[in-house]
Symmetry: C2
Subunit: 375 residues, 2 copies
């Protein structure tokens, strides 16, 4: 008796039409090492939106289909299609991570039957997901799928920032969009590990979220004296490393400049090339997809700006670090790594205009959870 | 009998006045390991201009003093003074490198007396320079000071680009402002070493300079199909590393985008994070001091942009690489590493408005040489 289920798919046609739909698929029987998981929870992360919508403008959205099988379409301008050629014509499944119940298992994975597991690897916005048992992590007893759904991307990213800091010889961190679920995890980790963290936020509400969990340095980028306060906090903490979720505009440049100013406060000799303090900015998100502006004259020649991507980091980090991080996530799942969600929605709901527009806004601190078992 | 000589000095006052002048100084007697060199040639490199003029606008220049002791002053806007605080009030000597004749030597350096030597280390825009004998490199027999004056910065930078390429695992290079003295050296080295080089220039005359010495890939950034030609050349050479002398604007971003396009030409699978090919851009100059714009959405997450500074590179490169590079420079001084100069000027001439404006333009392929013995 073959299971059937729905999968959320995104397809970009040659003419620039992007279509989101729910496809009915037959779930493959598990191989000897595989399990079939009924998905109960999958978060919509910014990276999922990147695949789901690409650079589509939600104002071009049109709805069709039925209530059970809604369809949403968007029009992409022709000049954007060049970089997307590799996905044109393909029906792509979406959803980096999720959690659910093992409803079938191959002969070597029978021990997992009936267990709740967390998963990573794509195609989680679906009723069922077949995967190798090794790629699933059993949840701690009593944990719900909602609690385990975001066990990989955000926790590993927060831990990855700290690993990166240690590997590259920095001792403190600056973080933007810092009130996000990820940012809250990072703040809790930094408090536990004694790492100074400078949080940059954009509202009082966001500042409050961070202060409540014990943050010392919370700076509002809308404040008139933002640059001065940032330079003060950077000088106090000695931060020479920043992780930026925003990407666009000059926020990264402003952080590098604050680090340079902090370095020059104690300078005794003038160097035409700027300070000797190496400053690193990692851009790990694209909350603002507009170009990044680097005002280099304000921070000399001792700097680096790079993309930071979780999966590349994990590949480089090695087995020991990967195991250590996963153990910590499992141990602190409902404390350090607890996620909160703005709303839980069903699969069909995810394609409704008003719902899609809400999660597409990527407001800091807001996050949506898909539960395919809801109707 | 103490020698007396002139030194070109740059001084920034608290009120934002930048003053260039020739100071009369008494030349210190050489210590046991030191030599006194009468400077005969010192090139004006872009980095020297950075110290000499800082961010001064030449349109604010005013001249005073006498023909022998001219003085030039500039007004810096107050908002620019913050980053220059470390140099305020200091009378700074200028001139990274030069060559001349050893006119006096300490007891352990007598062998150098009367020899022509090349020097690096600052304060070369002067009649005399005292330095440790180890820091001077005797010129090959028959070489003139003009030939040896630029033996360090450009040759080591060109060799440094190639060392960096090899250390970081790249196999081809993209270079901007490629018809400069440095760019010509790089092209000759790449031809000799079999390294594909993509040269970006801004005029037919510059393209011609490079073609004459054997360049294959010369692309004019003013051409209408510049981006396509760049992507083609990058695809053909496999370049994933670029050195940019310009810094400002979107030229660096355009190069990274061309590398991404080249990588995606052969892509079989769509990745929302861009290609898996790591692309590195080094900004080593500031011909355009305006902000750099990074259009990240066009090149994914596998990239790095950093400042590249010769002296940091040399520090990291180690003794073996330093010795190897210096040997090659000495061997190929009048071939690979030959510099050409637009004009040779005296010390006082360097402060004359029309002369200063000419070398301050930093036109690619133009370079001025100071010969303090001229009057």
């Amino acid at each position: 008796m073959a299971l059937r289920g729905r999968e959320l798919r995104t397809t970009l046609a040659e003419d620039g039409t992007l279509t989101l739909s729910l496809e009915d698929v037959t779930v493959a029987a598990p191989g000897p090492d595989e399990i079939v998981v009924r998905v109960e929870a999958a978060p919509i992360n910014p990276a999922d939106l990147g695949l789901l919508l690409g650079p589509a403008d939600v104002r071009t959205m049109e709805s069709s289909g039925t209530g059970d099988r809604p369809v949403a379409t968007f029009r992409l301008p022709r000049e954007m299609l060049g970089g997307l050629r590799a996905r044109t014509g393909q029906s792509l499944a979406v959803g980096n991570e999720g959690a659910g119940i093992v409803v079938a298992a191959g002969e070597n994975a029978k021990a997992l039957e009936g267990r709740r597991v967390a998963m990573v690897g794509g195609a989680m916005f679906a009723d069922y997901r077949v995967l190798n048992a090794r790629e699933a992590l059993p949840l701690p007893d009593g944990a719900t799928s909602a609690q385990g759904a975001a066990m990989f991307v955000n926790p590993l990213t927060a831990l990855g920032f700290i690993e990166t800091m240690r590997t590259e010889g920095h001792t403190a961190i600056v973080h933007t969009a810092a009130a996000s679920n990820l940012g809250q995890m990072l703040q809790k980790l930094c408090l536990a590990d004694g790492i100074p963290l400078v949080n940059i936020v954009r509202s009082d509400a966001q500042a409050e979220i961070l202060r409540k969990i014990g943050a010392t340095h919370v700076i509002d980028s809308r404040a008139e004296d933002f640059r001065k306060r940032l330079a003060d906090a950077v000088a106090e903490t000695g931060a020479t490393l920043a992780f930026d979720a925003i990407g666009g505009g000059d926020i990264g440049s402003t952080i590098l400049q604050a680090m340079e100013q902090a370095a020059n406060r104690n300078a005794t000799e003038y160097s035409r090339y700027g300070s000797n303090v190496f400053k690193q900015l990692y851009i790990y998100g694209a909350l603002d997809p507009s170009p990044s502006t680097l005002n280099r004259m304000a921070f000399g020649f001792q700097w680096g700006v790079s993309g930071w991507l979780l999966f590349n980091f994990l590949r480089r980090a090695g087995a020991e670090a990967n195991a250590r991080m996963r153990r910590r996530i499992s141990d602190e799942l409902t404390t350090t790594f607890a996620s909160t969600y703005t709303a839980t929605i069903g699969l069909a709901e995810a394609l409704r205009p008003e719902v899609l527009k809400a999660y597409e806004r990527k407001a800091t601190g807001e996050k949506y959870l898909i539960d395919p078992t809801r109707n």
